[in-house]
């Protein structure tokens, strides 16, 4: 790390020619990472498609147990948070420190709302004994409606998909808290907002995946 020059902005790492090259690299890197994520979830979607093709009646039957209302609320919540994260980026680009902080806070709040709602959904399911794998133990009333012999597999897939997605939401919250702390210290401005931008990209993907999960799991007719 020799010869760091005085004219060289602090946030630019030694191996980049300039700040723009660094920004472009970070963005491309994030896009590549998102491709990764899509394939990661792609595996789950594949398992979903395969089992749905094999047991279509199972999927229609089991989906009735999911609460469409709260699923829809969560969809709206996440779409809202995508909007606020976009506004956060906009604020950073315009040097609006306050706007950046507030938008980040709202995004964090909405993400937490999503998790709370998800928590209550899980809670309700577990209460009825609709639990994953070997914990599968539905109450007699549930067992009467959910009489498909492979019903547990649907919920295995449901829990896998939503839990992995939920994990991504938690990671997103952690990232945004980190951004917020840095934003308060005034680290971001129109010259340098790379972390805000790429976290935003990540958050849009998390949102997008939910937009696929919701109809696939909740809205099966």
């Amino acid at each position: 790390m020799a010869n760091h020059s005085a004219t060289h902005p602090k946030h630019v790492h030694h191996h980049f020619v300039n700040s723009n090259q660094q920004f472009e690299s970070a963005k491309l890197g994030m896009w590549v990472f998102l491709v990764n994520e899509i394939l990661f979830f792609g595996g789950l979607f594949c398992a979903y498609i395969v089992f749905r093709a094999w047991y279509p009646e199972l999927f229609t039957q089991a989906a009735l147990e999911l609460n469409t209302f709260w699923g829809a609320v969560n969809t709206v919540v996440l779409i809202g948070s995508s909007l606020t994260v976009a506004m956060a980026i906009r604020s950073a680009q315009n040097n609006q420190k306050r706007g950046l902080e507030i938008n980040l806070l709202i995004t964090i709040f909405l993400a937490c709302v999503f998790l709370v709602i998800k928590y209550f959904e899980y809670e309700h399911k577990l209460h009825l004994g609709i639990a994953p794998g070997s914990f599968w133990n539905p109450t007699p009333e549930i067992a009467a409606v959910l009489d498909h012999p492979k019903a547990n597999i649907f919920f295995g897939i449901y829990y896998m998909m939503t839990a992995v997605h939920g994990l991504h939401v938690i990671i997103g919250i952690a990232l945004m808290v980190w951004l917020y702390l840095r934003a308060r210290k005034g680290h971001f401005n129109s010259e340098y907002y790379t972390p805000v931008e790429i976290t935003g990209l990540y958050w849009h993907l998390v949102d997008l995946i939910w937009i696929f999960l919701f109809p696939l799991l909740y809205l099966i007719e």
Binding site: V17, S25, L28
Partner: protein, 590 residues
């Protein structure tokens, strides 16, 4: 001149007049990457791609030695038809360890993460990869994942083979599988980070003048590899996560006892693992292209054919996974399609081989050790590839599936291909990495041992496989004894070869002759800096006005650099207009 370069954001590549100067690299460098930071701690925390590359090389070599040692034990056990010296269960565990280590610890990271890390930024004229800290992280994730996987495999007496097929992996030892899969998951992460890093580096960090048509073929190969890594590895990750959940929660996706489908697991697994065999071989192709031009002193024949065939292989590689399940009860239509698609892979692979051979034609060939390995590669890999095509033929595969024929096939491609290419690259770039020459006669002798040992080990396996010897068997009928014993003898010859290599490479570190910047007289950009290079790889930002294989151009034209100090962008912009330094040559660059 390649004005369509997508890296227009690199200040140094936007169309401006660049003042360039010739920078002949010093014969004996004063300050190199090996001397600028001292101490163990400085190495362990370095973000320098060259040191990280070397650390990877060390780790890979270590695991290779360990897994190789197990292979010798396995071959020794097979000396007699019944028990020779280890128990049947131990045998199963050892081949699982051997296979998993060779694939996940050695072959997958070997060329990209070890040699690629060192060479890629140098071939691009960059100071480092795009994300140096991520690079270091990927190294530690690799080491941690490898140790973790090793301990879980060994501790739990895991014996499913490296493919972890259900229901083997879901019934027996369900405690162990969680740890093993977690380990492989961690390793996959390291692979993904390397791939992401390389793609970004290749897109964004090229020195002035390196347009897409001047990219060294090694870079093209690493690019194709990174794409496969990014697209395939996450599928392995999710597969493994599902497999782990299968064991923790019994969710019933893969385990037939729970209503799941084991063939689905095989689909998932091979959707990663077939592309993964190209993660292993495609970087090897890159090395071959570099070495073959340097030692024939000729432009590569069919630059675009070789560059694009790497991408074609990457693409087709995603469509053929079903050829591992011809006998698993896949539908007849699917098998036929997969068989046909498998044949297609032969086309881009064949294109490469023909172009390499055409490059040799009327070249001035010098038979140095790296070149010797290239010839060995072409010979062995061709056999490996051809037998792959044979296995891809449906009726033939029904007979040969799960026999030693398959074992021989994948050793010809993985060891005869990837590992030999790795050795070619290691010998080729050793002087650049260490600044020292190794003992050439001894190196040739070792190559001889390896070539002979390899064929003695694996040719008999084709024959006994075709005669029906199943793979992964501890005992065998007497009829196969001569083949097994020949094979075992071959493995000892191989081991001697590797020991010789270990000896002379270690020796060269201490007693080797100074290599000088460009011992092979190569036109490659990485050879236009000192050996070993300094921390920033080049004393000045290189400017490239020729392709990497333009051996008809004078060598001086490959030593151009920006006429101003190796600083940062903002300075460049300022200095460009005002520099008053003597300009030896001026060029317009796009």
């Amino acid at each position: 001149m390649a004005s369509a370069s997508p890296t227009a954001n690199n200040a140094a590549t936007t169309p401006t007049k660049l003042r360039v100067k010739r920078f002949p690299p010093a014969q004996t460098p004063t300050n190199t990457y090996l001397t600028d930071e001292k101490g163990v701690w400085a190495w362990l925390t370095t973000v320098d791609h060259k040191k990280i590359g070397l650390m990877y090389l060390g780790a890979v070599a270590f695991f290779f030695a360990l897994a190789g040692f197990l292979a010798i034990a396995l071959r020794t056990e097979l000396w007699t038809p019944a028990k020779t010296f280890i128990e049947a269960d131990t045998y199963n565990q050892l081949f699982t360890l051997h296979g998993a280590m060779m694939v996940f610890f050695v072959l997958v990271p070997s060329i990209p993460a070890a040699l690629g890390n060192f060479i890629l930024p140098m071939q691009l004229g960059a100071k480092d990869v795009a994300f140096p800290r991520l690079n270091l992280a990927s190294f530690y994730i690799y080491v941690f994942g490898a140790i973790f996987t090793f301990l879980s495999l060994a501790n739990n007496g895991f014996d499913t083979g490296w493919t972890f097929y259900t229901p083997y992996s879901s019934d027996s030892n369900s405690a162990g599988i969680i740890w093993v899969t977690l380990g492989v998951f961690i390793l996959g992460f390291s692979s993904i980070l390397t791939g992401t890093n390389f793609i970004t580096t290749i897109h964004k960090l090229r020195a002035p003048g390196i347009s897409w048509d001047r990219l060294p073929l090694n870079v093209w190969a690493l690019y194709a590899t990174s794409i496969i890594q990014v697209l395939a590895t996450p599928v392995l990750a999710i597969t493994i996560l599902l497999l782990a959940m299968e064991n923790i929660l019994d969710i019933g996706i893969f385990d037939p006892a729970l209503g799941g489908d084991p063939v689905l697991y095989q689909h998932f697994f091979w959707f990663y693992s077939h592309p993964a065999v190209y993660i292993m071989i495609v970087p090897g192709f890159g090395i071959i292209s570099e070495v073959i031009t340097t030692f024939s002193k000729k432009t590569i024949f069919g630059y675009w054919a070789i560059a694009l065939s790497s991408l074609a292989i990457a693409f087709i590689g995603f469509l053929v996974w079903g050829h591992h399940m011809f006998t698993s009860g896949q539908s007849a239509v699917a098998t036929t399609i997969f068989s046909f698609l498998t044949f297609l892979v032969g086309i881009p692979t064949g294109i490469k081989i023909f172009n390499w051979v055409a490059t040799l034609y009327r070249g001035s060939i010098s038979m140095k050790t790296p070149m010797l390995y290239v010839f060995i590669f072409i010979f062995l890999f061709s056999i490996g590839g051809f037998t792959g095509i044979m296995l891809g033929a449906l009726s033939v595969d029904i007979h040969l599936h799960d026999t030693y024929y398959v074992v021989a096939h994948f050793h010809y491609v993985m060891m005869g291909g990837t590992l030999i290419a790795l050795l070619a690259g290691l010998h080729y770039w050793w002087p650049k990495m260490t600044g020292k020459m190794y003992n050439e006669p001894l190196a040739k002798i070792a190559a001889g041992f390896i070539f002979v040992g390899f064929n003695v080990t694996f040719l008999p396996q084709f024959i006994m496989g075709a005669q029906g010897m199943p793979r992964r068997y501890y005992n065998y009928i007497d009829q196969f004894t001569p083949f097994h014993q020949t094979s075992t003898i071959g493995s000892y010859i191989l081991a001697v070869g590797f020991l010789i290599i270990l000896y002379y490479l270690a020796h060269s570190l201490f007693k080797g002759k100074q290599a000088g910047p460009n011992p092979w007289n190569s036109c490659g950009l990485e050879w236009q800096s000192t050996s070993p290079p300094d921390f920033h790889n080049f004393s000045h930002t290189p400017v490239v006005i020729h392709g990497p294989y333009d051996y008809h151009q004078p060598m001086e034209e490959f030593q151009l650099g920006l006429a101003i100090e190796h600083g940062h962008g903002e300075e460049h912009a300022a200095a460009d207009a005002t520099t008053s330094e003597a300009v030896t040559s001026e060029t317009t660059e796009a």
